[in-house]
Subunit: 249 residues, 2 copies
Amino acid sequence: MLRKVKEVAELTGVSIRTLHHYDRIGLLSPEHVTEAGYRQYSERDLETLQQILFFRELGFQLKQIGQILQNPDFDRIEALALQREALLEKRSRLDRMIQTLENTIQDAKGEIEMTDKEKFQGFDFTNNPYEEEARQRWGNEAVDRSNKALADMGAQGQKQISEQMEALFRKLAAMRHQDAGSDEVQQSIGEWHAFLNSMGHSYSPEAFRGLGQLYIQDERFTRNMDKFGDGFARFMAEAMGIRADRLQD
Amino acid sequence: MLRKVKEVAELTGVSIRTLHHYDRIGLLSPEHVTEAGYRQYSERDLETLQQILFFRELGFQLKQIGQILQNPDFDRIEALALQREALLEKRSRLDRMIQTLENTIQDAKGEIEMTDKEKFQGFDFTNNPYEEEARQRWGNEAVDRSNKALADMGAQGQKQISEQMEALFRKLAAMRHQDAGSDEVQQSIGEWHAFLNSMGHSYSPEAFRGLGQLYIQDERFTRNMDKFGDGFARFMAEAMGIRADRLQD
DNA sequence: TATAAAGTCTGACGATGCGTCAGGGTCAAC
DNA sequence: GTTGACCCTGACGCATCGTCAGACTTTATA
């Protein structure tokens, strides 16, 4: 069943102009177009649109959304699950804001006292929902560096991503005999997490740790990583928060 | 205690550039500026910034926020209370989205079936959080007309607001012998609500009805409105949803 | 106290995500 | 075959900052 723009617009709440725009930028081109150039949206197009709207709600940029959707191993159900987590997170941020607001009201009435910091709880407007967590865990510099690296990449014409990854891995591999908990290591791990997130993966802290598990449990990963040096996979896992005492020796 | 930009930025999570911007457009100019031109934000500035961020979170445009804040009878506590309501509303929208998402996951797995409409529940991206309610109650045309009128106003140089209000009142007054529930009257009431909302007041449906109460309970209002015709205040109250049987005769 | 490092300023240009015409074609119904 | 509702493609505009660049000020360090 095919629908024209107006119908889609009414059904979904986005404007016709928005649909045009998404078509133009290649984010969502209707499956069919009549000879006269009329857009005809299929059921699948609607699914895609729904995906787009979810990601948009989460603060992703349209360009990123496009990349995510056309990624060959994009798994819709997995994405939905991730979005669910992110929305829940967003809701708790809202809850914090509401709490802040209620406190502020009492503060304004002179009933309680608030520090300035408390007055802005819940107001972090980072694009990536997990970025703030990352900041708290690893400090701002690492995240900023990583963000900047990405910005430069986008700006100056797509310096190979794998190159960046490898560089980061080599850097980490060089530290593989240090304490996995050391500041230096943790900084780089932070960069790694931020890097993954900015690639559109959006790992929550737990998911990120889960990734660490994978590095040592799935031997395809292990083998690949150990190319960077013996025991590198284990080192990474440890650095990513997998407890050493849970690793079999 | 005065703070410089960086400190404020870190405290509140907004960028320095944003602070510059808000200064430039006159939305938030720091109370003090050093001889060298360094911005110095006072405690009150921070309060204002907090207000701004709340309104921003609610989707207000900076221009509107400016108007609201500099309105002489802007009551901070009242505003905070209104914001609280709006945030709660926003949260329930989020809840609806989460619900939609969870259903979609099941739908994708083939466990349940969803209509297309259901797949987009919670995705209305109107700027004014109450606009959708207004649309449901009074239909799109009235709201659109009102929005357009405002747009024109802004565009073509500030046709006097009071003029618009009066015109609308006169139009309503002309109908004051009709049934307050008639379509025609309700349309105009819809315009009135939308008009108030777009002025930055953001009346929820209940608050709007409360306003109706005011028209007949506070004699300053009553007197003023009855200038448009005898019994106009009562007519308005009724049209705004105050039940006739609660009016003393 | 001199110098470096960190912070700040003011332009100015750019990006994002559409809104909003204008001008013109298409479709369905009567 | 005319009307009215829809649709199309430009093209411009706008809000809200991001992102330099170039220059100045303040703070920390040696």
